[in-house]
Symmetry: C2
Subunit: 212 residues, 2 copies
DNA sequence: TTTCCTATGTGACTTTTATCACAATTTCAA
DNA sequence: TTGAAATTGTGATAAAAGTCACATAGGAAA
């Protein structure tokens, strides 16, 4: 993407006022990352807050044994509440952030976050909405983990992936799915076979097609 | 508690400046609730943000079938990020809040939240810190649910309860513990018996004593 | 083609958790 | 004191998930 006022205006529509867009252009850093790029690791120090322009980022929580659980995705024009709280409270990251696909983003330096909050009401609104959304996402993650069985969670995960990328075919291994659901590869393989028998998915090597 | 400037000053120490304390006195509502009092239910509309003076509140997430999972506790001088996001975004509650014991709190009306954020930097800091803490709490809840077995979670729950109330004996039934961990009474009974055999707890009717 | 690596399939088994049924115990109130 | 309700104990069994071992298959590179 061209990183100029015109394209910013196109992307952010009426979300931000012009003065804010000018500051974003001035102080923000445009960035493009490939699928699999690790944006943040637990313990990492966060110096800026990302705003996603296109693509999507998955946010994972890891335990000490290296197991991981998917928390949620952030996509177009979303931002990350973790980085917000971390920036504003000068804390280290407690999560992992990985690009799910080729992703464009703008990095906002930490010192501007607070400054803009008093200066631009649209920015303040953006920050609050981000908190709201991420809380909802986390609650959703807890719902999944606490109240649903693995087969439902697996199907739910595939559906969310479909929604994120706007397609119904994924190049992903059972091993990777197992990691996102914090379980083992064999379990995923069996559940997928079950779902295939029910006509909900179609399986081939490195590929899963979601039916319906 | 006497709800006046002197006691507020005693309680809030250096957390808030004097001008803010005066406004809290003016616009806040002092409230005392008994154990079991339901402060908020899913779908409820939130018109104010509570600040806990003493006691503790437990925050639960319910699914559609009425099962519940404990998210976290909020205690002295803490506030609730849910009510913050809900207030600031004019949304309904997605959680349940119940007094775990006799609890004193101050209710801050929604319109003051934003106003004070631009007016008092200590209030802004308080709001951000609240978000930070609740995010950490939610991540902790996810850790427990996703990565730990029930016996560990049960012991963890008892330990957190001990920390909250500053004692090691609880008046609680197995049924209630089951609800907080989103499982059945029988499972809790068996796990508690196990823990008793290991010398970690002492059981009697309506009472559990934590050893060590 | 052959070889090798990665990915998937699957049986056998264990552990963990859930469910059902009913007994035993404690407490409180009539 | 007696009965009812609440609480806890426990066996039997099932369902869900995790683990180990090894077989099979697909695709890339030599």
């Amino acid at each position: 993407m061209e990183f100029n006022l015109k394209t910013l205006h196109t992307r952010f529509g009426k979300l931000f006022e012009v003065g804010l867009l000018e500051e974003i252009l001035l102080f923000g850093t445009y960035m493009e990352v490939d699928e699999g790029h690790i944006l943040m690791k637990p313990g990492g120090f966060i110096r800026n807050v990302p705003i996603i322009l296109s693509g999507s980022i998955k946010i994972l929580r890891a335990d000490q044994d290296g197991r991981e659980a998917l928390l949620y995705y952030i996509g177009g024009l979303d931002s990350c509440a973790m980085s917000l709280t971390c920036c504003l409270n000068h804390r280290h990251s407690e999560i992992t952030a990985i690009a799910e696909e080729k992703t464009e983003l703008i990095l906002i330096p930490v010192e501007k976050i607070e400054e803009w909050m008093t200066k631009y009401s649209t920015w303040k609104q953006f920050v609050f909405t981000t908190y709201q959304k991420r809380f909802e996402d986390l609650l959703g993650a807890i719902d999944q983990i606490a109240f649903h069985k693995l087969d439902e969670r697996l199907l739910g995960l595939l559906n969310r992936k479909a929604k994120q990328c706007g397609c119904s075919v994924f190049n992903i291994t059972h091993e990777e799915l197992g990691q996102e659901l914090a379980t083992s590869r064999e379990v995923i393989s069996r559940l997928l076979k079950q779902l295939e028998k029910l006509g909900r998915v179609k399986l081939s090597r490195n590929k899963i097609e979601l039916i319906n």
